[in-house]
């Protein structure tokens, strides 16, 4: 019989999971949907180490996202007219643009990392422990710190370079 407090786990993990997924799919709604999907599966499977399990499933779901995008693209075309008319009335274009620009900058910086470095950083940022990251990525616990150090330095460098280039353009 399961002794996991799923309600508590959901409350403490869901936001982390969405953040983790968002930096992979760069779409808040989609990240939220995928996080829910991961929880639905977790509730069905009731794994023994649910938090690590959730992140593992979430990472797999994000990998599958490319396939989903194909279907979504079609869906988006169908809804385009409706969405355009709604956006005009409810969105502030300036704030939307700056948010997109911000995300674009971070995304570009993250893309400059190796897959393993990026994954380690995102897992850490989502609240995973060194041991959990090590298990997820097949690293020794002692190597997680080195991986994170490299990832953080590269992320900072990439982001700063982009900012410098932007300033030069302006």
């Amino acid at each position: 019989m399961s002794t996991i407090d799923w309600n508590d786990l959901y409350r403490t993990t869901f936001p982390d999971l969405v953040r983790f997924l968002h930096r992979k799919v760069w779409d808040v709604e989609r990240a939220r949907d995928l996080a829910q999907e991961a929880f639905v599966r977790a509730l069905q499977h009731e794994p023994k180490r649910p938090r690590a399990w959730l992140f593992q499933v979430a990472a797999n779901l994000a990998k599958d996202e490319a396939r989903t995008v194909i279907r979504r693209r079609k869906h988006l075309v169908l809804l385009k007219g409706e969405a355009e008319s709604r956006e005009e009335s409810i969105k502030d274009p300036a704030s939307e643009w700056s948010e997109q620009e911000r995300w674009g900058a971070v995304r570009q910086a993250l893309d400059s990392l190796s897959e393993k470095d990026r994954e380690a950083l995102l897992l850490w940022d989502a609240g995973q422990s060194y041991t959990e990251i090590a298990n997820e990525l097949g690293l020794a616990v002692g190597a997680v710190g080195t991986t994170l150090a490299r990832a953080r330095r590269r992320l900072a460098d990439a982001y700063n370079e982009r900012e410098k280039a932007n300033v030069a353009r302006r």
Partner: protein, 417 residues
């Protein structure tokens, strides 16, 4: 004096030293207390860590959480139909394959569907009832009688020309094999070797399943179903290209994912074919592994869709294709692999790899309506591509031939016979 490396500095900053071996953690703490150089380095790393965290924070979305009770209610309302539907579909698929594979003699072993050796039947029969009994003890829903009855139902439907009804109901359509006799109604009526095969399927391949998530009987069924559902495609391709029956392959990792529920279970299952040996020549053992390696080494990874998962619809249609439908494979050339693309609910097409004269590789992508042909990566150097609309979908062909020659190969897809 051995200074602290930057990894340990970050572990210190992250409060993760306790996850290090105790002696090492103690050494790092003591060293940082007394080493000015490392203290300075720590300050630099602290700044980098802080910058990185701030940058990631820039991309932190506002998270709106549905209530847990809503989620739980959703799981309660959707789980039974979801599981029942998927298991039923797959079970129909593999049950039918078991019955229909009588002539071909298939069995699942080591994650592959392989021709069964005559001498194995008795050995398999010994353990025939054990898995079913185990399932009954576990209260699992799977029942060999039920499976056999479902298979019989499908075959009956096939004979009555109700194939479309089966497909519409979510069942996997079946390629009728001339060797199928009267469909048995229950396990008692099944020939012993079929019972043995059912049991072999129940037992599943000896996989090193990860600690969690725990595989359930249903997952196992889905995994086996995923593998065997492609048998239809195999048989079809084999017939089209006059090939020997094909072998199904799936990576251990892939089948693990199927069994754990991380995947719908049909992905990365490869159907491999080899040319039939001439009848008068001594029959050489086909080197499937070599064929597969060859195909893998020569075929470029073709964008995300080649990572797709399998769907049998297109392939089964192919077997009874309409006049204006193309054949799945170019007649006359050995088929190396047939990979169905899609997630089981939304097929993305079929990827076929064939061998041209001299071992050159020809690739065909059959894309159904709604799938953009530009998703297929452009051909590598020395190869050309044609994209031909077919109905509302596309056929993309890539190979080391001129566009005119590729068009001729495309036209041969519509040749009769």
């Amino acid at each position: 004096m051995l200074h602290v490396d930057e990894g340990a500095l970050h572990a210190y900053l992250d409060g993760a030293l306790d996850e290090y071996p105790a002696a090492e953690a103690e050494r790092v703490r003591e060293h940082l207390d007394g080493c000015a150089e490392c203290a300075a380095r720590l300050a630099v790393e602290r700044s980098i860590r802080s910058d990185a965290a701030a940058m990631l924070g820039l991309a932190a979305p506002d998270v709106e959480m549905p209530s847990f009770e809503e989620l739980r209610a959703y799981v309660r309302t959707t789980r039974p139909p979801q599981q029942a539907a998927s298991v039923r579909i797959y079970r129909l698929g593999w049950a039918a394959s078991v019955v229909l594979a009588l002539g071909a003699g298939w069995m699942v072993r080591d994650g592959q569907l392989q021709p069964i050796q005559r001498g194995n039947a008795g050995q398999l029969e010994e353990s025939a009832l054990r898995p079913a009994r185990q399932q009954a003890e576990q209260g699992a829903s799977a029942d060999v009688d039920e499976v056999a009855a479902e298979a019989a139902q499908i075959v009956e439907a096939e004979r009555d020309g109700r194939r479309s009804e089966v497909a519409a109901a979510g069942g996997v359509s079946v390629v009728s094999a001339p060797t199928v006799a009267e469909p048995p109604a229950t396990r008692a009526d099944l020939p012993a070797d079929v019972v043995a095969k059912v049991s072999a399927l129940d037992e599943g391949p000896p996989l090193s399943v990860k600690d969690e998530p725990d595989p359930s009987v249903d997952d196992l069924e889905r995994g086996v179903g995923a593998l065997t559902s492609l048998a239809d495609a195999d048989q079809m391709a084999g017939r089209s290209a006059d090939l020997q029956p094909l072998t199904l392959e799936a990576s251990r990792e892939s089948v693990d994912a199927i069994r754990s529920g991380d995947s719908l279970g049909l992905g990365e299952v490869i159907a491999t074919a080899v040319p039939a040996a001439p009848q008068d020549a001594p029959r050489a053992e086909p080197n499937l592994a070599a064929e597969r390696r060859r195909a893998e080494s020569l075929v470029p990874v073709t964008s995300a869709i080649s990572q797709g998962t399998a769907a049998t619809g297109r392939a089964v249609n192919e077997y009874q294709r309409e006049e204006d439908e193309p054949s799945l494979v170019v007649p006359g050339y050995p088929v190396l692999t047939v990979t169905n693309l899609g997630d089981g609910t939304s097929p993305l097409g079929v990827h076929v790899v064939q061998s041209l004269e001299g071992g050159e590789i020809l690739e065909l992508f059959h894309l159904p309506p709604g799938v953009d042909p530009s998703l297929v990566l452009p051909p590598t150097e020395g190869r050309n591509e044609i994209r031909m609309p077919v109905g509302e979908g596309w056929v993309v062909i890539q190979g080391p031939r001129t566009e005119g020659e590729l068009r001729a190969l495309f036209e041969s897809l519509f040749a009769e016979g």
